[in-house]
Assembly symmetry: C2
DNA sequence: ACATTGACATTTTTCGATATTTTGTCAATG
DNA sequence: CATTGACAAAATATCGAAAAATGTCAATGT
């Protein structure tokens, strides 16, 4: 038997995701998470070594779910442009609405957390995979990785500058279009 | 007589630039600035209505000087690629070294200050002017303004992520190259 | 008259000492 | 053996007093 249908860690991480999303990192206690998970606080410490580990698990959980959503949607889309555009809009615009809704949850985007940095790295990897073939075939000097990284930079700067702005989708579209033109894609 | 060679406001702004650059916004007092300018604190209030106005003047001063530097250097460069690359590297890498050297001066980059937002807007305008002709002639759907904005977003995200990283110059170069390829420039 | 400033009231920030909360780890329990 | 009540250490919140900074004005000097 590989794993129960939902491991205890998974259940606790799910509870943590809810509480962290609602109150942010600083304002949620291990007691809150344990209560939401229906276990005692020491039991939570048996599942994770410390609060940071719970946080990392919650972030990873959210990230994995978002990537599953994106990849499922991508399967039904044709053309690099449509696929990249959907990935970026889904990740950048709608990806973290729940989190950003709460003003105290800005710490969920603090790059000082390794788990948060990994969210950006994962998205960069996703973009890299999407554009790799086109970059190779177009004979671009820069690698797909570094081009993807530039796009993520742009989306991060955009998020900082135009947080919750409603033209965020349009600006992401321009960034995507720029990247695609720069690698010779016209799909 | 239009203006004395250096108005009192200008002298005070120069003093403010020094002190703000060294200690950041929060940790410099009107007394510090007045002392540096060699005037009394009430005299400083005669020149500017409040601390924010002094801050705005200092930022504007720095920004204008950096733009003068960039434009002077641009006059000696040929080709859009060389010109845009120099502008971006100068602005993004070396532009605010002095300020960023001090760990307490992060507030100098806080977008909540209108004067700081204007720094980004001014740089966006500079980039827009540089690329306008090429964008027009290449028949790109997006405007030069919005393309320049994307580049500024990217540089802002880069600054957040890779603060003081020594590969910042290279990443800026990639962003510049991406933008130029996307508008069909190969200079 | 006019530019300048010492001195003041008000607001903001800092500080320190105390109380509360939270974390992480047991030995005890069922 | 899985679970938890209870504990010590550390972090954080609280709060009143002290210090500092802001913005203003009447007084000063030229």
């Amino acid at each position: 038997m590989p794993h129960p249908r939902a491991s205890k860690e998974e259940l606790a991480a799910a509870a943590a995701t809810e509480v962290f999303s609602r109150y942010g990192y600083a304002r949620t206690t291990m007691g809150d998470i344990a209560a939401r998970a229906g276990i005692s606080r020491p039991a939570l410490y048996l599942l994770f070594p410390d609060k940071d580990a719970v946080f990392a698990a919650a972030i990873r959980r959210m990230d994995e779910q978002k990537h599953r959503e994106i990849k499922a949607a991508l399967a039904g889309l044709d053309g690099l442009h449509a696929r990249l555009l959907h990935a970026c809009k889904s990740w950048g615009c709608h990806g973290f609405d729940l989190i950003e809704a709460h003003p105290d949850s800005a710490d969920l985007f603090d790059l000082r957390f390794p788990a948060v940095r990994k969210v950006y790295d994962n998205f960069q990897a996703l973009v890299t995979d999407l554009i790799r073939d086109q970059v190779r075939s177009a004979g671009i000097a820069d690698t797909p990785e570094v081009l993807a990284r530039c796009l993520v930079f742009g989306m991060r700067g955009l998020r900082e500058t135009a947080r919750n702005g409603k033209d965020m989708g349009r600006l992401i579209a321009v960034q995507v279009a720029m990247l695609l033109r720069s690698i010779g894609d016209h799909s």
